[in-house]
Symmetry: C2
Subunit: 240 residues, 2 copies
DNA sequence: CGTCACTTTGACGCTGGTCAACTTAGGTGG
DNA sequence: CCACCTAAGTTGACCAGCGTCAAAGTGACG
């Protein structure tokens, strides 16, 4: 129904009613987090696996100089850290950006689910591969794209991810990220993000206003971003 | 003995003689690759898992503009793409940097090994988590570190990785990477890499000459890099 | 001994950071 | 319903870090 975790995994593998029931049960008691509240901090001992059901969450790391780098955005349906318990401590923090509902699944329960439900295991391994691909794409962006290209590329990525879980309208979607958050994600300053957004708005490619993105000219935006349309698409074998 | 894959996995989990025999057998027929030869290209259908036994290998991606971004370095003992077969096509290429020996393990064989050898499974999942941590650290570097810091940080990382598989001497190690390759890895130009290396040499922190790095002042280098000494260390629970 | 890839250096300019001020929007309490 | 407060967004002036372009130097290898 509106369990976006199940919805997402269904796109990655065939799930039986039994599989879905197990997933629903495992995520049935989510906890609410306030905006800016940490789920877990760098240095903490890894705990259960997190599954975001509502809201936006990010992984981030603070450098000794006080600057922040956001490493990933987690949207409803995204999970993290399949085998994380193997690590002694977290090398980054995870924080809610908006008020969020997040389920936790203990490692034992997780292992039982992976063992007893091969379809779930397949879907989750696929999801992890996609996440790794996103990490690599971020490196490419940071290393070889201009600031304008980076911003456009991130918007393309987030739009497609939002669309795949049914969170988009016609040519627009909610993006509850401040310009400071975008800057921390893209390795830029909020000031420069602002200038880039103005440029993209004036060029007629896209506009970001009050937490909502309007894609004015998809073709132009994709072109500016140098976005590979198949990036999050063709990458998976046909589910099932 | 000198199978560095086994040596590396031993650092991540207790392996029985039986486990080691299975690993040795699976990697007993490596293939030789010449420098600059691709193991697999972006767009190809994913094949077997690769295990680097000798030489340096990298993941990379070419942008439409022709620029290249290196996404990871693979050293002897490093493997890649545990579940890669779930993807329809590669989103990046993998290439030998130096003449290399690389074993391939078919997916069926891989799955059999993961099922039949829980210690191997544990070690390989740990290795993958460490690799993901390295990806995240690269994002942090690209986003929030200056060029000098980036270079110093990469050298620290590579030194520690080389040391963990016994490839370092006293304060120096072989680094068969041209300045162009370093530039492609760090999102810079070869010209600027050259200037940064000169600066690091003059400051007495480190020197790179003819494929070999000499760490002149470890404390200074770590300080310049803002390197977290525990980055690749404390991160694992005690093996065994 | 010539070729080719790699390294080194200088001059110059653009992208994006810094600093500072002002505007806008949203929330809270009187 | 307004006054106030704060976080977020916007803009301009200035400049530094790093890219670009060009040329010369070095070493490996046939």
């Amino acid at each position: 129904m509106d369990n976006r975790f199940i919805k997402k995994l269904q796109g990655l593998a065939q799930l039986t009613a039994n599989d879905k029931a197990a997933l629903l049960d495992a995520t049935s008691a989510p906890r609410a987090y306030a905006a800016r509240q940490d789920l877990i901090r760098e240095g903490d001992e890894p705990g259960p696996m997190f599954v975001v059901l509502e809201g936006w969450v990010c992984r981030y790391k603070i450098l000794p100089t006080g600057t922040r780098q956001i490493l990933a955005f987690l949207m409803p349906g995204d999970a993290c850290d399949l085998h994380i318990k193997l690590l002694a401590e977290m090398d980054h923090s995870i924080q809610a950006i908006t008020p969020s509902l997040v389920a936790t699944v203990s490692r034992d329960r997780m292992n039982a689910m992976l063992d007893g439900h091969p379809n779930i295991a397949k879907a989750m391994y696929s999801a992890q591969l996609v996440d790794e691909g996103i990490l690599r794409a971020w490196i490419v962006s940071m290393g070889r794209r201009s600031s304008t290209e980076r911003v456009a590329h991130l918007i393309c990525e987030l739009y497609l991810r939002a669309r795949s879980i049914g969170l988009t309208g016609e040519g627009h979607f909610d993006l509850p990220l401040s310009q400071l958050v975008l800057a921390d994600a893209l390795g830029m300053t909020a000031v420069h993000i602002n200038r880039v957004l103005k440029e993209l708005r004036l060029s007629g490619a896209m506009a970001l206003n009050r937490g909502s993105v309007t894609i004015l000219d998809p073709v132009k935006l994709i072109h500016v971003a140098g976005f590979d349309e198949n990036y999050l698409h063709r990458r998976l074998r046909q589910a099932g």
